[in-house]
Symmetry: C2
Subunit: 215 residues, 2 copies
């Protein structure tokens, strides 16, 4: 195996290091975050850092770098208190990637891509019409990460919309059936296929396959 030390990583060319370090922690979720300004200008931007935080209450977290393209999302969710999380589907990965361009706050990415905004149940923030799994969230809290000037944002899930055939009888979502993609690094999009589900692991007990994949 090739071995990189911290000193060697620090000396890598900046773009090489960005590609390398962004992919070395494994696959990441692929979500479009929808928000709206107080002036009514919508924003949609791709995020690879959304992750599960807890089920009861239903919480998620994600990382924001307010000095870059994420700034509009940050300002919107701080001012309106709401945002949406929309799964990226294999059918629109290129349109999703385009939302990472640094448009200023006067332009909506919905106008610059083929993604369509959609409003559901009087929720103020726009959803992505094409997504098959969408969450309406309220801003819950933020933690400033002093190690690299990021914010870790906590959102509380208020609404979930999901196609019926995606959900198994035990509540689990078959994300393969939703054609949800994941992200490898800064710019790689991948489509996962479910290999298996396993029963709850207990000490010195066998682990078995769960057959219910939402068929």
């Amino acid at each position: 195996m090739r071995h990189y030390t911290a000193e060697q990583i620090a000396e890598l060319p900046s773009k090489y290091r960005a590609h390398f370090i962004n992919s070395c922690t494994g696959f990441k979720s692929a979500n479009l975050l929808g928000s709206i300004s107080e002036d009514g200008i919508t924003n949609v931007a791709i995020f690879s850092s959304v992750t599960h935080l807890g089920s009861n209450p239903p919480l998620l977290g994600f990382i924001l770098r307010p000095t870059t393209v994420d700034r509009n999302t940050y300002e919107n969710l701080k001012k309106t208190g709401v945002f949406t999380v929309n799964h990226v589907n294999q059918n629109f990965i290129k349109e999703a990637h385009k939302t990472s361009a640094k448009y200023d706050g006067t332009v909506s990415e919905f106008d610059k891509t083929l993604l369509n905004e959609e409003y559901l149940d009087d929720f103020k923030a726009p959803y992505v019409q094409q997504s098959r799994i969408k969450l309406g969230c309220t801003f819950e809290n933020e933690y400033f990460i002093k190690e690299n000037d990021c914010h870790f944002i906590i959102g509380r899930i208020q609404h979930i919309y999901v196609d019926r055939e995606i959900q198994a009888e035990d509540g689990w979502l078959n994300l393969e059936r939703a054609q949800t993609v994941c992200i490898d690094g800064l710019d790689g999009y991948a489509l996962p296929q479910i290999l298996n589900r396993f029963t709850y692991a207990q000490p010195d007990q066998p682990v078995n396959s769960i057959k219910d994949l939402g068929s």
Copy 2:
């Protein structure tokens, strides 16, 4: 689409809600965290919350629930200051899942599974021998998430080991080639296939495919 409100989510049976909410934010990374106690007892446990935090310095973050099975990992990394992150490969998803059983601190999961511990370059924490991408990390900081009593742990990447054929010329790791899996919910394991890579997105410019998938 089926719509769940916050009130309906709160009233779901506990296990149903856990499966549902754990899968609704998209695919998650699949990593085994290796650590060692001051007494020399090793620990390896599966985590689905490891995510990229920054490239320079190279930082990652993950969520710990110190009251559950994660406690040994937490105590070890706080006392020794080191831990490893090892990609879960499709060849050992069942062994990886077994590490989620709640063994007490006197038992090493390396003795209870077919996973082998490995020591590289005098790093104190054990790596997983079978993994094709492994990181040696130091504990950098922690943030207490008061919303649900979790810790957000920041690790600094000190060593990266990667099979040579996995890395593209621009530094990107082809995680499909590494056979790295991702996680759907609490217990689903999925194998991603790369669909495409795209060029850096700029306002009003086309986005193109990147052909270098590390061939």
